[in-house]
């Protein structure tokens, strides 16, 4: 079983593979950093020296995104750099050849995926699906859209994945390959209804139902497929009119979820409104806000405090529930909150300060590594 060569490369180089070109405002700066304009032709294996001396090695590049690794001068010898360049080009060539050979039955879905990517690349989020992909009007009915991203898992086989999903959901699904290790899954919205018709448990909201389906699917894929993965789910859509916009939303959801909630693997668009807003704030303003909002922000980086506060917010600021969840005495929790108030001037039992601390914690997650 071939494990992801990306992860192996990261381990060998001791540096993460970065992605530029996600819809998160990173694309232009990433291109400018290496002296290129958006649209310039670059390919796997290319190397660029940045103004600060860093060597940027292009791992893969397509119309939509560039994956790269930043290396420090001296990390690799000249011969090692050449070897990497050759290896990445060969891998790129092999993957294209494999792509054209694989999944003969799924060629239509593959072209559908390519069409979706083209529309996103061109910013045509409201584009209607051409008739050639809508045989029998199947995209004119409601489907539940999931975005699946295999993390560092083995290279997946589309047919195997499709069969697994059909066995799991006991119904037909549409599996649309998007980028490498990324798929759009369209599942019938009947999943949200009890057998015999009608919405099942009236106490469960549609969002709760969608979340439980997504979590079940995540667990099933983790143990029965190739390992860790990320899933985002949205409300049912009629793909003929809304598929491009939905894929864009789900990609953004996964990207924001991974950025703000490391460790989470199921991402829900209705849970990340605040994260979306905070992500749009320029770095400089984020840092200024953190510095001004609390007198001792370093305390908010301590793992014990972070865990305490995150649990406190997850328990809707209820002291007893938080203490239970953390397996600590109520007085221990109160002591921690008092200490936080004393050191930072922020009392999270007050709504105003709780909002501030929640925002600071979220901002830290995207600024602390800079």
């Amino acid at each position: 079983m071939e494990l992801s060569w990306r992860s192996k490369l990261e381990s060998l180089l001791g540096a993460p593979i970065m992605t530029a070109g996600l819809p998160l405002g990173e694309r232009e700066s990433a291109w400018q950093d290496i002296g290129l304009k958006p649209g310039d032709r670059i390919r796997s294996g290319d190397r660029f020296r940045l103004p600060d001396g860093t060597i940027r090695l292009i791992v893969s590049a397509d119309d939509e995104k560039v994956e790269y690794v930043d290396l420090q001068p001296g990390d690799l010898t000249g011969r090692e750099e050449q070897l990497l360049e050759w290896l990445l080009r060969e891998l790129d060539r092999a993957s294209h050849a494999e792509g054209s050979r694989e999944r003969p039955l799924n060629r239509e879905m593959q072209r559908f995926g390519e069409w979706i990517q083209e529309q996103i690349g061109a910013g045509r989020l409201q584009a209607a699906v051409p008739d050639e992909f809508n045989a029998g009007g199947r995209l004119n009915i409601e489907w539940i859209p999931f975005l699946l991203l295999a993390d560092h898992a083995a290279r997946a086989n589309d047919a195997e994945l499709e069969k697994l999903l059909q066995t799991y959901l006991e119904t037909d699904v549409l599996l649309v390959p998007l980028r490498d290790q990324e798929w759009l899954i369209l599942a019938p919205d009947s999943l949200l209804y009890e057998e015999g018709g009608g919405r099942g448990d009236i106490e469960e909201t549609p969002e709760e139902l969608l979340e439980s389906v997504a979590r079940g699917m995540h667990d099933m894929l983790t143990s029965e497929w190739l390992g860790e993965n990320h899933i985002a789910v949205a409300h049912p859509i009629m793909p003929s009119a809304a598929v491009v916009d939905t894929v864009y939303l789900l990609r953004e959801t996964v990207a924001l979820g991974r950025r703000f909630h490391q460790g989470d693997t199921v991402h829900l668009p209705w849970n990340i409104h605040l994260e979306r807003l905070l992500n749009s704030i320029p770095d400089e303003q984020r840092l200024r806000f953190i510095e001004q909002a609390a007198s001792r922000t370093d305390l908010l980086l301590e793992p014990e405090i972070v865990t305490t506060l995150e649990t406190f917010f997850a328990m809707n600021c209820n002291v007893s529930d938080t203490a239970k969840k953390l397996f600590i005495h109520r007085n221990t929790l109160l002591y921690r909150l008092d200490k936080l108030k004393q050191d930072t001037g922020l009392d999270v039992r007050l709504f105003r300060d709780a909002v501030l601390v929640k925002i600071i914690l979220l901002l830290y997650k995207v600024t602390k590594r800079k």
């Binding site: 079983m1 494990l3 381990s11 979590r215 099933m220 143990s223 190739l226 390992g227």
Partner: protein
């Protein structure tokens, strides 16, 4: 069933200079119940996830049975996982949830039925087989998650804090049930927890981890009575072991430990060890477990060389025992666990004798237990 062997395993995340797991060497025997325990961030879950195949191993070798599985996908490792945030398949009933993995592996219907019903019987959920997950309580869902793992009859069970979403009472119950289950199934279990009570009560062997490094791996009894260093000594046991900074000196042929408010004489055996290792006239840290303080008159009479006086600042009466918070012994508060019948009063000065056979001495620099190195 099979053992699991980790040889010089490292985990480094890209972009991070520090390894999350460092030079992890462990031979887990077939049918052993092994518990990985440590504070959050110590690398215990990362280690388990590497065994599961959910994290790649940066360096080193992992064997399940005799098979090297570094590059084997999770589904092909013949393991079953039960994690903290388990999710049942919401559109399937309990029977279907448990049968799904077998169905995928093309088991015959009759075999699936036999395994599911046997597992349901073991877990006492036979009456729930037709129910959907949303109609189950937290404890019942947990049993189904276990059942899903059991029916596969894997070589190894991996469990990552599987009880932490349950309330305290249910956790206690499930703790005992999982232990019983492991014995009944005669299978290898690797269990991760941050809860030392779970670790002590469930594990045949416990691995205490800190900062990605194994501190000590041994039976619960050995960890408790012979901790290798201050971290293990302080982590295992509740209330935690008391540490008092002081020094050793020799007088009239006996070795004494002296600190603010106490001067006690070491037993001959322990004195010989500290003499041999050159710790006389040096600073050391005394470690005393709360239950090794005694206020019974008989004990005080029999131990005149280890009597200390202290102020009982707070007395927590737990019924069968009393936790007494003492001031005046070293610079920090010391906790003594006395018998529930003790008449110690808050605010009073009390005399206590330390069981000198059970004390520990630690090197202040290396933090190693002088009696265990």
């Amino acid at each position: 069933m099979a053992g699991v062997r980790l040889e010089h395993v490292y985990k480094r995340y890209p972009g991070s200079d520090v390894a999350s797991v460092k030079d992890f060497n462990l031979d887990i025997k077939d049918k052993e119940f092994l518990v990985l325990v440590g504070p959050s961030g110590c690398g215990k879950s990362t280690t388990l996830r590497m065994i599961a195949g959910l994290e790649e191993i940066t360096e080193g070798k992992l064997y399940i049975g005799d098979r090297l599985v570094n590059d084997v996908a999770p589904k092909d490792r013949d393991i079953a996982m039960v994690f903290q945030s388990y999710a049942l398949y919401p559109h399937m009933n309990v029977y279907q949830n448990m049968a799904f993995g077998l169905k995928l592996r093309k088991f015959k219907k009759a075999d699936i039925d036999k395994r599911v019903r046997e597992a349901a019987k073991i877990l006492d959920i036979e009456h729930l087989l037709d129910r959907k997950p949303k109609a189950l309580s937290g404890g019942q869902r947990q049993r189904v998650a276990l059942g899903r793992a059991i029916v596969r009859e894997p070589q190894v069970f991996l469990m990552d804090e599987p009880l932490s979403n349950l309330d305290a009472k249910l956790r206690g119950q499930m703790r005992a049930e999982i232990s019983k289950l492991a014995k009944r199934l005669e299978t290898t279990v690797i269990y991760v927890t941050h809860d030392q009570i779970e670790a002590m009560t469930m594990g045949d062997r416990i691995v205490v981890m800190k900062d990605g490094v194994i501190q000590q791996a041994d039976s619960p009894e050995v960890l408790y009575n012979h901790p290798i260093n201050m971290f293990v000594a302080g982590f295992i046991g509740s209330p935690a072991m008391n540490f008092i900074k002081g020094g050793l000196y020799e007088r009239d042929g006996s070795v004494h430990f002296k600190a603010d408010g106490l001067d006690i004489e070491l037993t001959e055996g322990k004195a010989a060890i500290v003499r041999e290792k050159g710790y006389v006239n040096k600073e050391v840290i005394l470690g005393v477990r709360p239950e090794d303080f005694h206020d019974e008159p008989v004990f005080l009479e029999a131990s005149p060389k280890s009597i200390v006086s202290a102020l009982a600042e707070v007395v927590e009466n737990l019924g069968h025992e009393k936790n007494v918070y003492l001031a005046g012994l070293g610079s920090d508060t010391v906790i003594a666990r006395l018998d529930g019948r003790s008449d110690v009063k808050e605010g009073s000065n009390i005399k206590l004798a330390i069981d000198m056979n059970k004390i520990h001495l630690f090197d202040p620099e290396s933090e190693l237990n002088i009696f265990e190195i």
